[in-house]
């Protein structure tokens, strides 16, 4: 019995082998480059090259695709500004600034992109392609904490710095923190600390809360942080239900809320999930209900303008927290909104803002260190204090690579003046109120040398 696919003769094999040898000879120079960095250097050392490449790994498909698209816009803008093209954006307002508007250390900045598909596996495959094939010195991106954590540990293994984009889980700079990972975005703990006093003022001390939580690292830590805050206020937690990421239909999770005796629904959802769950909660009439003699309220701890746009009228009057909003009136925010608006015709989201800032911060740190050698770059980022990037004075804490800055508590506007003017800032919570001891979450950064 012979099931082989084609007749193999000695002649055809010889022919094939010759062809193979030919391609091999043509391709071999590229193949041996892989050892170039081994001589006491570091991975993807740009050496004397005229340009240097960084990678943007964002969700282009899946529940967080809207955020991903906006992040990519911001990254492109950041690359332009670092190369001295366009109006310079936040490079005009950042203090202290080492960048000169001629790329990084005189090398032109180039970029490659990839799709994380909001999946850890796909994100790591895409990041590995950037590192192994495109030779990036840094990669950045995010929109899901699970994916960000997966990429951060890859960064540590590979010895290439990862600048987290939008990731809000406490674990990213808590128990899963890494020496090669940095986060500018705020986290769930800060959301809880910022929201607490506002919730107390608006809703009182006697409330019964029901949580719907996205079932992964971000949802878990946010639920925990919000629970800690509200229970300290004296609220009771009736129930906390986990929902799968990207569920689409949340009606089966919302129906039980109606008869649970709860009078506050806390949605630990983000992106399209939040748009769907909030819309359905409103359609089920939750907000018109009276429970325990109080108006039923919905809280969305992590808010964004993109989600507000997706949820339409349902967002009106709902409280949440956010890292940044385009309506802020400081110099940095105005400069960023202006150059983003000029390039794309609409204001940036908070995801875009954090990604832009992260790219500039990395470039600036390299310029400060005077080298692309990761341990030196890491050292110049650790403990770095800066201002003029839209969040007021900010510090990259050395102990856990988390940025500390003011947090915004926002509410969906009742009478928006435009399709983008959807959130009003209720309070700019000062940094001192959201700060915490890095030890409470455990974890270890690991070594400088990968």
């Amino acid at each position: 019995m012979d099931f082989s696919d084609s007749k193999l003769t000695r002649r055809s094999v010889l022919k094939g082998a010759t062809a193979l040898a030919g391609t091999a000879a043509a391709a071999s120079p590229a193949f041996f480059i892989k050892n170039a960095w081994a001589a006491g250097q570091f991975r993807n050392d740009p050496g004397n090259a005229k340009s240097v490449t960084i990678g943007f790994n964002v969700p282009q498909t899946g529940a967080y695709a809207d955020e991903g698209a906006d992040e990519l816009r911001a990254y492109k803008l950041a690359v332009q500004h670092i190369n001295g093209e366009g109006d310079g954006g936040l490079l005009n307002t950042m203090k202290p600034l080492s960048l000169k508007g001629n790329g990084i250390l005189g090398k032109k900045l180039e970029y490659v992109t990839g799709d994380t598909q909001t999946k850890s596996d796909a994100a790591r495959a895409s990041a590995k392609r950037m590192i192994e094939k495109d030779g990036v010195v840094m990669f950045s991106g995010g929109s899901s904490s699970g994916v960000a954590i997966a990429q951060q540990s890859l960064a540590q293994e590979m010895g290439v710095i990862f600048m987290c984009g939008l990731t809000h889980s406490n674990d990213t700079t808590g128990k899963d923190k890494r020496r090669y990972g940095f986060r500018h975005f705020f986290n769930a703990y800060m959301s809880g600390a910022a929201l607490g006093p506002v919730l107390e003022k608006e809703m009182g001390k006697e409330r019964r809360a029901y949580h719907l939580t996205a079932d992964y690292t971000w949802g878990w830590t946010q639920e925990e942080s919000i629970k800690n805050t509200t229970e300290k206020l004296g609220w009771q937690t009736v129930n906390a239900v986990k929902t799968p990421l990207g569920a689409g239909d949340f009606s089966q999770y919302i129906t039980p809320v109606l008869n649970s005796g709860a009078d506050v629904l806390i949605l630990n959802h983000y992106g399209k999930d939040m748009i769907n769950s909030l819309t359905q909660a409103v359609q089920f009439g939750l907000r018109d209900k009276q429970v325990n003699g109080k108006n039923f309220e919905i809280v969305v701890p992590l808010f964004s303008r993109l989600m507000a746009q997706g949820a339409g009228d349902n967002i009106k009057g709902i409280l949440g927290s956010t890292n940044w909003n385009w309506s802020l009136q400081d110099e940095g925010s105005k400069a960023f909104v202006k150059s983003f608006g000029a390039a794309y015709g609409f204001p940036p989201s908070q995801a875009a803002h954090t990604c832009y800032v992260q790219t500039v911060l990395y470039a600036n740190a390299v310029e400060m260190a005077g080298t692309f050698f990761p341990p030196e770059v890491i050292k110049s980022l650790e403990g770095f204090e800066f201002d003029g990037m839209g969040n007021g004075p900010t510090e990259y804490r050395a102990a856990d690579h988390q940025c500390f800055k003011n947090v915004l508590v926002v509410r969906g506007k009742q009478n928006p003046s435009s399709q983008f003017d959807l959130l009003e800032v209720v309070q700019e919570v000062p940094r001192s109120q959201v700060e915490y001891d890095p030890k409470i979450f455990g974890g270890e950064l690991g070594p400088y040398q990968a």
Partner: protein, 377 residues
Amino acid sequence: MAQLWHRNDLLLMGVFTLAVLAMPLWLAPFGAGYPDLLQKLAIYGIFAIGFNILFGLTGYLSFGHAAFLGVGSYAAVWSFKLFTMNVLPAVLFGTLLAGVFAALIGFISLRRSGIYFSILTLAFAQMSYNLAYSVLTPITNGETGLQLTQSDPRIIDRLYVEATSGLPSTELFGLKMSGYPGFYFCAAILIIAFFFSVRIFNSPFGVKLLAIKSNQTRMGYTGYNTRPYLLVAFVISGMYAGLAGSLLAVTDPLAGAERMQWTASGEVVLMTILGGAGTLIGPLLGAGLIKYFENVFSAYNEAVLHQIFAMLPDWLQSAMVFVVNPFVGEGWHLTLGALFVLIVIFLPGGIMEGIRRLSSLVRRIIARSRRDGLQAA
């Protein structure tokens, strides 16, 4: 023993071994010569070969093979966490556990055939996925995925070395399993897996499986109880998937529930059909093509396209970029879908049928020109 080995099979094995080991060389011009993609090509090649043993030989279409891939991955990562960073126990553990799992699911699913069998396997896989995603979170770490941590026990390793400050990497007696060594490890296993698959195709057991595919009822009338053969094929195929899953963990010690999702099960079906079900090499080609699209094609953005069409005049360049752009980058699914439709309609036997048709065409042309040459003389 010698006559069991066809000369063609020996040649096939030889060429296959050479081609696999030389992959970094001949794939480099296509932009695929980097370790991560090469590892993926080898690993998904194993997955597809294993799937083909079931689908190609018996015709039983399993829609739940990703479950075994996931089980293999989780088992391997747990072996790294609990025992040692050496990859051999992890691979062994992953393959065996997937085999046990396949025996359980196969025992139940194989009571039905055709579409009912497919649906049963799909249901089991989806069940496993949901279990891994939420119920079994302590074992699988849910959506975040199972990862190594500093505080893992690693009992066997601790007997010999102190824990270092960084996370350890997977190794084969000191050789780190990332980058090219990782690829050659996977390649060696792929060659062994392929060897076994050739032996199965050419064995009396393989013939019985083929007989089941052509007419299971008649097979029963001739006195064969077909179910044990099917179950063995199912378990072997599940073990191949577990092997592939554990190799995924070897090259990148992380296991996520999305590996078990039905889309992952669908992917291996696509790979096999795209390459040519029931052929030895076909599934490998299909796996390679899909992984190539997913990793390389999806990374093309407008800037890259402008570079590709740089030699054209400006207006034509912009026009070409405009036309091609929806099909690359995040649109790679679209291209793959179109390709799949074309192949299923025009080449039902997959890429292998295309190659066969092409080679017979070439042969006919050569024969004709020789005949013409003779007549002219």
